[in-house]
């Protein structure tokens, strides 16, 4: 399919037009973070630049946003670490070792189904569970729920990465007398590191982005950044400037990952979607 100059131009106009539709509104909103409230309200496109929104958001007396960002980071890092360790071990065993089928199929089937079911149908039940054991509102509640929420997608990602390793390697290692555990730590683990990075990036983004779980299971002291941003919008006098400033601060990890690991994210997204 070789195309002429005209259709080349049209195709580029279409995709770059869409890219502009993504960038334009995003930049407009983000620019509000650097404007005074009066300029936002009057819709001034070019206005004096100010850092006052960031100062109010981060350092004013009633500000909690630094704490919210810290909470997001704690929950994201801890839950991602647990997810990746569990998923990588399980993926290796499910892919290369003999697991009884009454364990294998219910596990994979339920993981897939749970991954597809709306999170909101579970939050009520989680809330009651944590409340009855006194964990409601703690880091542990939010972290554990993030772990189980992201475990299926990490499991399927890691199965696709572990499954792509050459089979001969494992057989050779077993001939040499390695136990399963040694095969995993010495052979599979170093080889699948690229896949683990892709899964880590994706799972961290999911955890960082989560709203529904953090909204229902966190308390004032464990509240994450997305929940905090939502509360700005719920107040009677919406603080547009601080909302935009919070938005900028909370998309930094996502943008950083795009800049550093674009190929990893694309790889992870594609592998995760075809399951």
């Amino acid at each position: 399919m070789r195309a002429g100059t005209a259709s080349r131009l049209l195709a580029n106009a279409a995709v770059w037009g869409y890219a502009f539709l993504i960038l334009g509104p995003t930049l407009w909103v983000l620019s509000n973070a650097f404007k005074y409230k009066i300029d936002i309200i009057t819709g001034a496109t070019f206005a004096p630049v100010t850092w006052s929104n960031f100062e109010a958001l981060l350092f004013s007396r009633q500000a909690h946003f630094l704490l919210n960002l810290l909470n997001s980071a704690i929950v994201g890092v801890v839950s991602t670490a647990i997810v990746i360790v569990c998923a990588t071990m399980a993926a290796f065993t499910l892919t290369w070792l003999r697991v009884p089928s009454w364990v294998r199929w219910p596990l994979l089937g339920w993981a897939l189904l749970f991954h597809m079911l709306p999170t909101l149908t579970f939050v009520g039940s989680w809330y009651l569970m944590y409340a009855s054991v006194g964990l409601q509102g703690t880091y542990l509640a939010v972290i554990l729920t993030h772990v189980v929420h992201n475990l299926p997608v990490a499991l399927f990602l890691m199965i696709s990465f572990v499954g792509a390793l050459p089979k001969d390697l494992f057989e050779a290692a077993r001939m040499d007398g390695c136990t399963y555990g040694q095969v995993f730590w010495r052979i599979a683990f170093p080889l699948v590191r690229g896949g683990m990075i892709a899964a880590t990036a994706l799972v961290f983004i999911f955890s960082w982005s989560d709203f529904a779980i953090a909204l229902t299971l966190s308390s004032t002291s464990t509240m994450t950044a997305p929940v905090a941003i939502a509360t700005f919008a719920q107040e009677y006098d919406i603080r547009y400037g601080e909302m935009a400033a919070g938005t900028i601060l909370s998309i930094i990890p996502a943008l950083g990952l795009i800049l550093v690991g674009q190929s990893f994210i694309v790889r992870g997204l594609l592998a995760g979607a075809v399951k």
Binding site: W16, I22, V103, L107, V148, S209, A230
Partner: protein, 307 residues
């Protein structure tokens, strides 16, 4: 003697590895997903009152379900809106995403890395931030949309407050949000197609559109069906954007199932009734997933047997 003891020892360690490597995943899934479902099913037969922070349960049999199927209005408005939302948003995303991928595949594009980076943005930015952004853009008085309309002399539109267009606005935001994802998947699919078959088919087809209709779409069908299924299921999860954009309003015009469940549980404290709602939603979507996967797999099987 020592050899066989070594072997026993090794077999035991191998069995232990299998248990140890699977246990965390299984325990987490059982305790935090299977148990909550069973618990929810049980609670759906109770009326739950809160007294001093602890729940008091009284058994009421099927009353919660009877109420849901006979007397409920908001939840069913949510079901209707969720279906409209899912079908129209996903259809638009598929058509737009596939067309753009086809155009880029056929004609090439400049700045692929930058383009991919920009298209990844809506996918990795937290959904609540997307909701915030569009709330600012679609705001009635000083949103970008109305500012731009004002420049060409069109009067202000209340994008999120007018019951006739609020749902359309939410659908628009979702199309904006997820078309890039479909585009990236479709482009990857198109790039992995067998080049020899594509070249050979050039002899038989006369136009680009014929090639698309008779060669590319049939070859892409598995990818298309899987993406469609994936997006459809994700769109039934919609919550974050609606929470921030409209909270289901005005009236019930943008109410979605997930929001009804949230409100029943957390704003109205009707735990038993909320559980019944969750159970009904869970079972319906499970059924949908099983039927959907069946169709996808039958289509895939039919295709491979025809070859």
């Amino acid at each position: 003697m020592t050899v066989s003891r070594d072997r026993d020892d090794k077999a035991r360690r191998n069995r232990r590895w299998i248990v140890v490597s699977l246990a965390p995943t299984i325990v987490l899934l059982v305790v935090l997903t299977i148990f909550p479902v069973l618990n929810m099913f049980g609670i759906s037969f109770f009326d739950v009152k809160w007294s001093g922070g602890s729940p008091i349960f009284s058994f009421i049999g099927l009353d919660n379900y009877r109420r849901l199927f006979a007397g409920e209005v908001v939840y069913w408005a949510g079901v209707r809106n969720t279906i409209i939302f899912a079908l129209s948003a996903v259809t638009s995303q598929m058509v737009l995403g596939f067309s753009m991928a086809l155009a880029v595949r056929a004609a090439g594009s400049v700045g692929r890395t930058l383009l991919t980076g920009i298209f990844l943005m809506p996918i990795v930015i937290p959904p609540i931030v997307i909701g915030t952004m569009w709330r600012l853009i679609l705001g009635r008085e000083f949103g970008l949309a109305n500012i731009l309309l004002g420049l060409v002399g069109i009067p202000q539109v209340d994008w999120l407050g007018d019951p006739r267009i609020a749902l359309a606005s939410v659908i628009f935001v979702d199309i904006w949000h997820w078309t890039p994802f479909v585009f990236l998947l479709m482009l990857a699919g198109l790039e992995s197609l067998d080049q020899e078959i594509l070249e050979a088919s050039r002899m038989d087809v006369t136009s680009f559109w014929q090639a698309v209709r008779h060669v590319i779409i049939p070859m892409m069908l598995p990818t298309i069906l899987i993406t469609l299924m994936f997006r459809l299921i994700l769109s039934f999860k919609v919550f974050d954007e609606v929470y921030l954009l409209t909270s289901g309003g005005p009236g019930t015009s943008t109410e979605v199932v997930n929001f009804s469940i949230y409100r029943t549980f957390f704003a109205q404290d009707q735990v038993g009734y909320g559980s019944a709602m969750s159970v009904v939603t869970l079972l319906s979507i499970t059924l949908l997933i099983i039927v959907g996967r069946g169709v996808v797999q039958r289509r895939a099987a039919a295709r491979s047997s025809r070859r």
